[in-house]
């Protein structure tokens, strides 16, 4: 069972823990998150990255940072799960890629990049994964209008006479 004290001992006291039902969440500052994750991978046996996602906390009551990035880890031997969370801000949200630790991060990081514009330093192939290549905005950011900025209508029209 991962204990918070040993993490705090190693990485400082900014690391905090909270829980909701049976979810353990450990909040780590963004400059340390890679080292914490590496430690979890190397020494605590978290060998699977189940899910990795982000949230935009714009207009969220009490939020102090713009983005949160969550890593859901699983130790497949003991069945232990833990959620590592970190916060990022504009103008250049950037994190080190965890692709070297878990290859499942490949598409997950591409998706976060596509939807939130968070860059992952060291990712082997950071391209858009859902939206078309030529799309310029990051649609899951809360300041992007739900209905888009007209991109969905930016296509040539084929009429019956010319086709």
């Amino acid at each position: 069972m991962l204990d918070l004290d040993s993490l705090q001992e190693r990485f400082g006291n900014e690391i905090t823990e909270s829980s909701f039902r049976d979810n353990r969440r450990i909040v780590v500052p963004s400059d340390k998150v890679y080292f914490v994750l590496e430690q979890l991978w190397r020494e605590w046996g978290f060998d699977m990255l189940v899910e990795m996602t982000a949230a935009d906390y714009l207009e969220y009551p009490g939020a102090t940072d713009r983005f949160g990035v969550m890593y859901v880890l699983l130790n497949t031997t003991t069945g232990e799960r833990v959620i590592i969370k970190t916060h990022l801000n504009l103008p250049d949200p950037e994190l080190p890629s965890v692709f070297p630790l878990w290859h499942s991060a490949d598409w997950l990081e591409r998706e976060i990049f596509d939807m939130f514009g968070i860059k992952f330093e060291g990712h082997p192939d950071l391209r858009r994964i859902l939206m078309p290549e030529e799309f310029t905005a990051f649609p899951l950011r809360k300041d992007y209008p739900l209905k888009g900025r007209g991109e969905r209508h930016n296509f040539p029209v084929i009429t019956r006479a010319e086709s």
Binding site: E59, P145, P156, R160, A161
Partner: protein
Amino acid sequence: MAVGLPENLFLTKLDAAASWARSNSLWPMPFATACCGIELMATAASRHDMARFGAEVMRFSPRQCDLLIVAGRVVMKMLPVLQRIWLQMPEPKWCISMGACACTGGVFDTYAVVQGVDRFIPVDMYVPGCPPRPEQLLAALIEMQEKIMRTGTLTGREFAGRTKSNGPPPFDLDEVRRSQEAVGVPGLDIYTPPEIQLGNAGKLN
């Protein structure tokens, strides 16, 4: 003037003969991108049996088809594919837009979903419903056959006049209004609201 015709012969116009042949052997191209596609399959399956109307030969190559059935929502990434498939179909060809999503975008009024394929490709027949029942699709097919019989010509002259898209222009008033609804909440320190630039598109003329 009396013309002596032997039995088993009748006279017709070439246009009518061509339309009769075409309308009774429509080969659909099933462009099924979402849930409407399931209903399209049901229409072709034994219970509703589209073969009764001569349209059972679903071909997955646009080169062999003459009726495009757009069944489901089309997103930004799919639209160029749809247009390409339409262009690949040989003349004469027709298009049925099936379901609320293909006709108008349906409930998916979001940044990625095209709000009606008729904005970008020509559509002959709209089938409302979410999803339309197989009977509705069959009704549209029969209607389509009637339309071909009524307007069809051997050389496809009837298409020449259709030089505008069927759908609304990309930035009609409604669309502008919808994008203006989406202004964010000002006065938050971690946030600056984006400038929405409409350019000339928002102009009333």
